[in-house]
Symmetry: C2
Subunit: 488 residues, 2 copies
Amino acid sequence: METLIKFDVQNERNLTMLVDFYELTMANGYFNKGVENRIAYFDMYFRRVPDGGGYCIMAGVEQLVQYLSNLKFTSSDIDYLRSKNIFSEEFLEYLADFNFCCDVWAIPEGNPVFPNEPLVLVKGPVVQAQFVETMILLTINHQTLIATKANRICRAAEGKTVMEFGSRRAQGYDGAIYGARASIIGGCDSTACTIADKYFNVPAVGTMAHSWVQLFDTEYESFKAWAETYPDNCSLLIDTYNVLKSGLPNAIKVFDEVLKPLGKRPKGIRIDSGDITYLTKKCRKALDEAGYPDCKIIISNSLDEHIIRDVLNQGACIDSFGVGERLITAKSEPVFGGVYKLVAVEKENVIIPKIKISENNEKITNPGFKKIYRLFDKDTNVAIADVLALSDEVIDDSKEYEIFDPIHTWKRKKITNFYVKDLLVKIFDKGKLVYTSPSVLEIKEFAKAETNKLWPEILRFENPHTYYVDLSTKLWSLKQKLLLNQSK
Amino acid sequence: METLIKFDVQNERNLTMLVDFYELTMANGYFNKGVENRIAYFDMYFRRVPDGGGYCIMAGVEQLVQYLSNLKFTSSDIDYLRSKNIFSEEFLEYLADFNFCCDVWAIPEGNPVFPNEPLVLVKGPVVQAQFVETMILLTINHQTLIATKANRICRAAEGKTVMEFGSRRAQGYDGAIYGARASIIGGCDSTACTIADKYFNVPAVGTMAHSWVQLFDTEYESFKAWAETYPDNCSLLIDTYNVLKSGLPNAIKVFDEVLKPLGKRPKGIRIDSGDITYLTKKCRKALDEAGYPDCKIIISNSLDEHIIRDVLNQGACIDSFGVGERLITAKSEPVFGGVYKLVAVEKENVIIPKIKISENNEKITNPGFKKIYRLFDKDTNVAIADVLALSDEVIDDSKEYEIFDPIHTWKRKKITNFYVKDLLVKIFDKGKLVYTSPSVLEIKEFAKAETNKLWPEILRFENPHTYYVDLSTKLWSLKQKLLLNQSK
């Protein structure tokens, strides 16, 4: 049996058991204490933007929907758990008949999101709402991390093409597949990851590796073979031996000898090593002089937003960036620190807000069942601030609204002439899916539009202005009360 | 149809299409030029050890075996490719009947491995040997990265328990599942990732989250409920409100009131925030004085090898480390830069070695179909050096053998009294699987034993001695000849 299981894991998966073991010991404990159906409210949120940036791009909701729609314990899962000798039969029977029945809200993918606001909110029997913690975090943490990094890289590229090239250096298969998906959401134009194209309908691209060039007796011969195979889409990798002495002249020769007689134009040349600025300037000049000003120059080789900005500042002649390992792993800061915290429980149909104190101040939670309102300027559509409020609060955008800093409360600002958007959208109603995910390319366009509504000061790479994420007066007062109570 | 595909991706996977698009355009090009069956030799290797370490721990071979055993293009894959309008029908028919027939060698998991030596070697028709590049790299890069990081962290813990706690911050689902597997190979004692236990038979562990504590009206009540549920395995998380004022005294009270009357001993307390050194010393003293010197202290909160070494140096009283995001993403250096390079082709049954020159010297490849010999001291079993040789070379360990630095060739050393091990093991013979993977726990033990054969100077965290990876005289001479030829 074990061999069979071992072989299943890569090709046939049920991710229900991808769960931290303590979710199961706690769930069994809730049963043991008869509190499994107590209604609990959990917030998933993060505390800081990676890379010191000003915002993140929400991503991963579609995969969260898939996970929650497919929650199911197989008999082999139950047998495995029974073998641990710590779970009650009553609990195991509950798992065998598991029927997800929570309410779930999420901020739709592509929205710019900020620290301390709930990206996902779960309400339901604690035994279920607790159980889904691991996968909610894993799913949203990963894709939001990569979408955010992609967004930085694409901003640095200033409208030039960015291709995601990182599959081979991703952290696992899903790291490649969903990383490609998130990269597109963040702004990339295409990916090298074929399966991501097949599944998500995002354009897969690619030309040749050094091995193509090496397989033939000469570089010229290899280029010729390529041009003959792909006369309509001929991009040549020119750094296998020597860019300027060999790759570039051979490429031009093949453009002249193979493509020109067919009336075809070359698509591009790619350089994967060496001094990018120097080489691309030389190549651009030579291509222009040879009559190929429309031949694109494609660059790859450990690129990120800083290198891209730097070479563009230096006047490198680049049309297209292939970005690999530093995007697909978010190398400069590869952890998105989302957390999942209990914020309220119900007792006799009354919501009791809960707070978690910590010796680390930033680990103190915002209590209660909440909403997030984003306030936009009515004339410019610029996002002014987000306000966390209790779920029964409504912000009346026909009146002036005062926001204030939740720590430095004397910092206050009166907002007028605004409209308000309720950011959290219901995706499951008592376990029933009530949300349809847009396509990845639709999400990408939405992300672009919403990002354009942020102040330029928020978009800055280094030391961006901090976007306002404030608490409503009611929520702020509740938090202060609970803090005082707890510290007594 | 699209909705169906979208839902399949998470739960039912065929990873055949997880491939860089250029592998497919190249494969189609080989067909177009009639060279698809030319026999090619590829090496997968890496150029430097992450974190400035002295060695890596090989991991991922079992998953590579699964991938290569399951290569199969479905009709929907073929339809998808056909829709691109660039692939010939002849090529698509070949894919539809794809039958893997390459020879594959790999260094078995758990072996310490070093830069520039082939970890995986593939020989076969170029159309196939090229195609598997993406997944070989993705699989070995990811698991070797995490196993290597885990090995550093476990060395810092100096024999104390290390638990892998990172699923929620992993880069995708496989990042969590195979990351847990690789962490165990690298030396971790257990994981929080339940599905990894189910699939790989590695111990899953876990107790409670802050939400358990918060769900009850008081911390005391929550601890009591836990102790009553798990009297034989009672570990309490004591930092939800205040470690010293509340968590610790409540824990001791519950140990006294619930466990003691049952004749049970507490298992541990866990701290997830605050000053670890200060708090653990205080807790240790209080637990000892309360009669619980056997109660373990468990620490978690953004740990890595540096923090672990630091707090242990400061005299923190810790029995067990829960290591999360910095392990599961290898945060300090989250990319393992393995590459896959063509090293030879056959023409009329003669092996023609190939080299890739580069303006970046470290990107120059070692040509030819190779073997790796590891030389061990006969008396001490210490690993002396690895020698890359051509495949027809045999190192006679009954005679003196001279090794030399491939760059600074005047640095020479005569080795006597040694035995030699051929590191690469055949895993596929003409496409047939000829290898059985050991269990993960067996690999972990093997890794420990093999790591113990390295000089302590190689094990150092900072500025370790560089282990010798030399070329045989024959291979070195071949490389020089090809370099001279190419640069003409």
